[in-house]
Amino acid sequence: MIRFKKVFLLIICLLIITMVSGCWDRRELNELAIIMAAGVDITDEGKIELTLQLARPLAFTAGAPAGGALVQKTTWVISGAGDTIYDAQNKIGSEVARQQYWSHCMLMVFSQEVASTKLLEVLNFIYRFPEPRETMSIFVAPGKAKDILNSNSAIESTSAQSLFYTSRSKKSFRVEFAAFTRDFYTPGTNAAAPRVEELNAGKLLGTGTEKPPEHSELAITGTALFKADKFAGYLNPRETYGMSWLKGKTLRRARLTAPGLKDKNKKIAFEAIRNHASIDPVYEGGKIKFFTRIVVEGNIAEQQGEENLLDLENIEKLQESIAGVISEQVREALNKAKDEYGTDVFGFGEAFRRKYKKEWVKYAKNWDEKFSESEIYLDVDVKIRNTGKQTTRPLLQKGDQRS
């Protein structure tokens, strides 16, 4: 009996060794081509073109190059076309020596062309294939996604990291794949994704013997809106703020400028820390009204005018002034999305569906048209929590004062 157990234990140990090492599915780090970012375009023949930004480990480990030494590119951008994403990746696979590894892919860029014609077909790959993470960020590029990936960053090793960190800092609207697909498939709301562009970012310091090279950096310049599975249009950064307030997405470090109290031209800078939004639909005789309430908390960051911020009344007036700016931004976003593009990216339809599940059945098919006819009432509540280091601005008490 004891002997049997020993033999048994030995067999188990041997089997555990094979099991733990992963056998058929083992992946050695030095045999992987790690995908940093992926982009999808459509070729002239109508095929799907996948572009991958692969990390080049050799360049990462090289350390700081001595002055004038050749700086190796840290990434390799490679494209392949096919009928499906998988097929396109297969084409790339014939050129890349290593096995491509999706798990570290931080973002996926769709060109506007893909977004307006083939998004439904393309999205499935990420959700079905086990490797890509649902936490990857989604972007839409007005031009070619390929060009977006084929860029450098002055401050990060790869442009993918740079773009990902920019979006992660929540300075603007950002969407993860999981939330994107959720909005994409949920009735009563539509998906939105940030728009990415390559902007000129001045000149990098050259070596002195040559002309300093022009540098361009990836930037988030607004939001792309969808209507069902088709691209509908863009919001500019200001309208993106408006949309974010309404969606209740937290914009960490969202900055606002509001007119001052004494002099409209002397501005107040406000930094939002937290925001929250709620939508309350009211259905009366075939008419839909939405009462939305937006609460924004934040701090005063800058004061150009000479208001006395120690006065609570002034604070209240400032809050109203900032609320005015926010509702203006929201109105602008609504005008664009609701009236111009006719798409509900804010989840009004969802709120309606939740409250009036019976009435919703009537509008489920053509909600976006119905949404354009609905009335929306805004109630913005701004709460100033802090005013920075200073209580109020010191008064300039010199001979001839400016009024």
Partner: protein
């Protein structure tokens, strides 16, 4: 008695809980999400009723025949010949379900993590472990359970807490959007898993205080219900109804989305660990049950010689029964979690109990 051990109430409770949540917690919600959408949590409440009924039937039946497992009870109730037929019918049910469980535990591993490894390798590994456990006897299985179950529940709660930043509880509204029928349809799969409390009919003779059996089963069902609700509410809040209903294992995919401070990420491995651990314990318990039941029916003095052959059959049948994961998913959630499974676990015990009460068989005083 072929395995002379006495288990205390806590051990049996733990074994029943791991039996109920084992792999079902990760697979069964997919069926409720598919039918009931955001109302899956109501489906679980409906399912709870079925589970409690099943527990009541089995415990009352077993309590009429103290010291007998259900396989022996069948023979007393229906005579040697028909009793054996019913016994084999149930042994086959148990065996069939164990095959499916085995296949289920590892086919997700192979579909989501290690797609190139042949499934049979996982199955053989798993069955070697369960065979070892089943061979070692009931007490050892009970002790493993005492280690694994707290880990399972702990990991479940940790994952729930970690997902809270991504939760939007408005996903759970509107309640009963498409009426009550989808909710009922969605309740069948979790009901089947709750009804697996049938294991109490095997464990009861080994329980040191049999009079507590009903309380123990109810406690086990209540705890598993808690686990199911945690999954149904948490995952629905994270993923939303549209995505929940189209994945094989919603818990696995919602744990992939966890991202806390850009450091705590890729938590799906925890789901996989608790899944495989509790799945293995469950399979071991069932393998022991099948061996014990077969030995009792065949009149053997020891169940141990049957453990290894059953293990071999488990591997081969779990490969043979299902050609692919779609077939497995359908069979698990709509055949087991439907007429086939509920006939075994809810209808038959009711009829058996009725038969025993009407004919006045067994000891009907509840001492």
């Amino acid at each position: 008695m072929l395995d002379i051990v006495k288990l205390d109430g806590r051990q049996v409770t733990y074994m029943l809980i791991i039996n109920l949540i084992g792999e079902g917690l990760l697979f069964a919600p997919a069926a409720s999400f598919l039918f009931a959408g955001q109302d899956a949590w109501i489906s679980n409440i409906v399912a709870l009723i079925g589970g409690l009924a099943s527990a009541f039937f089995w415990v009352s039946l077993s309590r009429r025949f103290p010291g007998k497992t259900s396989f022996e009870i069948f023979e007393i109730l229906f005579g040697r010949f028909f009793g054996k037929i019913i016994g084999f019918y149930f042994a086959w049910g148990w065996f069939n379900f164990t095959c499916d469980t085995l296949r289920e535990v590892f086919s997700l591993l192979s579909s989501s993590f290690m797609s190139r490894t042949p499934l049979i390798v996982f199955l053989i590994m798993g069955v070697i472990l369960t065979t070892y456990a089943a061979y070692s006897g009931l007490e050892n299985i009970a002790r493993i359970t005492q280690i694994i179950l707290p880990l399972t529940f702990g990991a479940l709660i940790v994952l729930f807490v970690l997902s809270t930043p991504k939760m939007e509880f408005s996903n759970l509204l509107p309640v009963l959007e498409r009426g009550f029928l989808p909710v009922f349809k969605g309740s069948l799969a979790p009901m089947f898993w709750f009804c697996q409390v049938i294991e109490i009919s095997i464990l009861l003779p080994f329980l040191n205080r049999p009079e507590k059996a009903l309380g123990i089963s109810i406690k086990a069902i209540a705890f598993s219900f808690l686990g199911y609700e945690l999954v149904a509410l948490g995952i629905m809040a994270v993923l939303g109804p549209a995505l929940c209903s189209v994945t094989y294992a919603p818990a696995l995919y919602s744990s992939r989305i966890i991202s806390l401070g850009n450091v705590v990420e890729r938590m799906e491995i925890f789901i996989m660990i608790i899944w495989i651990a509790s799945g293995i314990v469950k399979i071991a318990m069932y393998q022991w049950t099948i061996a014990l039941g077969s030995a009792q029916m065949l009149g053997l003095k020891n169940y141990r010689p049957l453990v290894v052959p059953i293990g071999i059959l488990l591997v081969s049948f779990s490969v043979l029964l299902h050609p692919n994961i779609v077939h497995l998913f359908d069979f698990m959630n709509f055949v087991w979690g439907g007429p086939y499974g509920l006939l075994y676990l809810l209808i038959w015990p009711f009829l058996f109990l009725l038969y025993a009460v009407v004919l006045g068989k067994g000891n009907d005083q509840k001492a």
